[in-house]
C-alpha cells in the first residue's frame, strides 16, 4: 500500500479533494498556516481549524533563476491572496516561468503534485497553484 504524506501539516490530502487548512485564533480570527502555541496578534491560546478556499489571485511573485544547488530552476514563487483574505506562498506550476506569462492579479487555484518518494513507496505530496484558465493539471 502506498502511503502519501503532505509536505506540511496545513495541507490536507486525506479527503476527496486536497485543501489548505488554517489554524484560526478563537479570539481575534487571525489565521495561521501550521500549528501555533499562542496567537501572534492577540496572545490568546485557543484555536480552531478552517478549510481555506482553493481559489485566489497572485498578489506578488518572483521568478527564481539562481538557487541553492540541487534545486531546479527557473521556478515561479507566488504569494497568493486566497478568497477571504489569507495569504499563502507556493510555486506557480503549469505556467511558463517568464514575466510574459505570470502577472500580478492573475486568477489561480490550488493543485497538488508529488515532491518526492522513497524506496518504501512513501510519496511526499506538495501543493502549488495553477492559472485558473488552464484548469487543474495532474
Amino acid at each position: 500500500m502506498i502511503a502519501d504524506l503532505p509536505i506540511v501539516n496545513y495541507l490536507v490530502i486525506d479527503g476527496d479533494e486536497p485543501y489548505l487548512q488554517a489554524t484560526v485564533c478563537d479570539a481575534c480570527e487571525a489565521a495561521y498556516l501550521g500549528s501555533r502555541i499562542a496567537c501572534a496578534r492577540c496572545g490568546k491560546r485557543t484555536f480552531h481549524h478552517r478549510r481555506l478556499p482553493s481559489k485566489g489571485t497572485v498578489g506578488s511573485f518572483t521568478i527564481i533563476h539562481r538557487a541553492a544547488p540541487s534545486i531546479p530552476t527557473p521556478f515561479v514563487s507566488v504569494l497568493v491572496d486566497l478568497e477571504g483574505g489569507t495569504a499563502v506562498k507556493a510555486n506557480l506550476v503549469g505556467c511558463p516561468p517568464d514575466p510574459e506569462h505570470v502577472s500580478l492579479g492573475m486568477a489561480v487555484e490550488l493543485t497538488t503534485f508529488e515532491a518526492a518518494a522513497d524506496e518504501s513507496g512513501t510519496r511526499v505530496v506538495a501543493f502549488g497553484f495553477v492559472p485558473s484558465d488552464r484548469g487543474v493539471t495532474e
Binding site: 506540511v8 489565521a31 502555541i37 538557487a67 544547488p69 514563487s77 506562498k89 522513497d118
Partner: protein, 404 residues
C-alpha cells in the same frame, strides 16, 4: 563653547574600513582597525571608553567584543555582543546610547564587523532537496525542505516578492523602476573610495545582467563581502568638557529607534519588511522633531533594488504610492530632491552584515561634518540612516550637524 542638553547623545568619532574581501584579515582585525580609527577621529583612547558593544552576524559565536578588546586594549570595561540580523551594527550603537541614557557610562564604543568572503547566497548552502526518511518535523509538520517546492524563502526572492507586492498595489512600478534604483546607486559609488565596487552601469546593462530573482538581476543584488565600522558616542554633558574641535565636529543623534514586526497578514508567509519600517520612521521623525522634507540625505537598506524602492514610501520620502514616479523623476539621485544612498548603498558599497548599520552612520555623519570630499552633499544639516534585518529588526537613526 556651545551649550547642549546634558542628556543628548553625540557621535564624536566614526570610521569604516573599505568594504571588500580581506583574505589576510579576520573580522576582528577589521573591527579593531575601525575601532582605533573611530577613537583617533574622536581624539580619545581605549582608556577613556566606558562600555564596548560589538556585533557580527557570521562571527557572533566567536564573541567579537572580547576578541576586539584583545586587539585594541583590555581595560576591564563591560563588553557586550549583539546579534540582530542586518540591524546588528545599528543595534550596537543603540545599546551604547541606552547605557549612556541609563547613566552607566558617559562615553562608549560601538563596533560592527563581518567576514563573508564569497559565501554565495545567504542561507543557500544549508538547503538540499532530499531528506529521507520522510517524517513531519516542527510545528508546521514539514516533511522535507520546502525551498523551491513551496515558493522561495531566500533573500533575493523575499525582497523581489516584497517589491512586486508594492508593484501590484501601486501604478507606475515595474522592472524598469527597480532597475533605475541600481543604476543610481552604482553611479553614486564611483565617488566613494571605500565602496566594494566603484563602477557605473547603464540602465540597459542593469536590466540585461544575469537574472537572479525576477525582477532583481545580478546588478540589483548586494554583494557579499568583508568589512567593519565603528563609532564613539558621548553624552551632551561629557561633550561639554571636550576640546573645541571635538565639539565642532560632533554630530547629534536626534533619534535612535528599533522596531520589530507587528502582526500582519503577509507576515504569515514571508517577512513583511514595510510595516516595521513605517513604524520606525514615524517614531524617528517624532523623536527628532523633523519631517521627511528636512532630510538632506538618507542612507537606507538597499540589500536589493526592490527593497530601496519600497522604502522611499515606507520612510515617507515620496507621496504615498508614488515610489515609481519618485525614481522616474530622479528624486533620489545625489542632485535630486532627497539624495538616497550617495555612498553607493549596499548594492555597490557592499553589505558586510554586522558592519552595515554603523557604515550608514559613518556616511551621514561625514556629510554633516562637511568632510565627504568628492561626494559631499553641500550644506547637509540633517540625515537619516535605516537598516532592516529579517525577520525582522528595523533601526533608524536621525543625525544633525552640530550648530556651532
Amino acid at each position: 563653547m556651545r551649550v547642549n542638553d546634558p542628556d543628548s547623545l553625540w557621535i564624536i568619532g566614526v570610521a569604516m574600513t573599505s568594504f571588500g574581501r580581506y583574505a589576510d584579515r579576520d573580522a576582528f582585525d577589521l573591527g579593531a582597525v575601525a575601532a582605533l580609527d573611530a577613537m583617533l577621529d574622536a581624539d580619545v583612547t581605549i582608556a577613556d571608553i566606558e562600555i564596548l558593544v560589538a556585533g557580527s552576524v557570521n562571527q557572533s559565536r566567536q564573541y567579537p567584543a572580547q576578541r576586539i578588546q584583545k586587539l585594541i586594549g583590555q581595560t576591564g570595561i563591560p563588553a557586550v555582543n549583539v546579534l540582530n540580523a542586518c540591524a546588528t551594527g545599528a543595534t550596537a550603537v543603540r545599546s551604547v546610547c541606552q547605557a549612556i541614557k541609563a547613566g552607566e557610562a558617559s562615553i562608549g564604543l560601538a563596533v560592527g564587523c563581518e567576514q563573508m568572503g564569497k559565501m554565495g547566497m545567504l542561507g543557500a548552502a544549508s538547503l538540499g532537496r532530499e531528506r529521507a526518511p520522510f517524517e513531519p518535523r516542527g510545528h508546521d509538520g514539514v516533511v522535507m525542505p520546502t525551498e523551491g517546492l513551496l515558493g522561495t524563502g531566500l533573500m533575493p526572492g523575499v525582497f523581489a516578492q516584497a517589491g512586486m507586492r508594492y508593484a501590484g498595489l501601486h501604478d507606475g512600478v515595474g522592472f524598469e523602476q527597480f532597475a533605475k534604483v541600481a543604476q543610481k546607486n552604482h553611479a553614486h559609488s564611483v565617488l566613494n573610495p571605500l565602496a566594494q565596487y566603484q563602477k557605473s552601469f547603464t540602465l540597459d546593462e542593469v536590466m540585461g545582467a544575469e537574472m537572479i530573482s525576477y525582477p532583481n538581476t545580478l546588478l540589483m543584488c548586494c554583494p557579499t563581502g568583508d568589512g567593519a565600522a565603528a563609532t564613539v558616542v558621548v553624552s551632551g554633558e561629557r561633550l561639554r568638557s571636550m576640546a573645541d574641535d571635538v565639539q565642532r565636529r560632533a554630530v547629534k543623534i536626534s533619534a535612535s529607534v528599533l522596531t520589530s514586526d507587528p502582526w500582519s497578514p503577509d507576515g504569515l508567509v514571508q517577512p513583511d519588511v514595510s510595516t516595521l519600517t513605517r513604524n520606525a520612521a514615524v517614531m524617528a521623525y517624532e523623536q527628532a522633531g523633523v519631517s521627511p522634507h528636512d532630510l538632506d540625505l538618507v542612507e537606507l537598506h538597499d540589500c536589493f533594488a526592490t527593497a530601496e524602492l519600497i522604502h522611499y514610501d515606507n520612510l515617507g520620502l515620496c507621496e504615498p504610492g508614488g515610489a515609481g514616479d519618485f525614481i522616474d523623476r530622479g528624486a533620489p539621485w545625489r542632485d535630486g530632491e532627497v539624495p538616497v544612498n550617495v555612498s553607493g548603498g549596499l548594492l555597490s558599497k557592499g553589505h558586510p552584515l554586522g558592519a552595515t548599520g554603523i557604515a550608514n552612520l559613518f556616511e551621514v555623519a561625514t556629510h554633516l561634518r562637511g568632510e565627504a570630499g568628492d561626494r559631499q552633499i553641500e550644506g547637509a544639516t540633517v540625515g537619516m540612516t535605516h537598516v532592516l534585518g529579517l525577520g525582522s529588526a528595523c533601526s533608524i537613526h536621525i543625525l544633525e550637524r552640530s550648530a556651532s
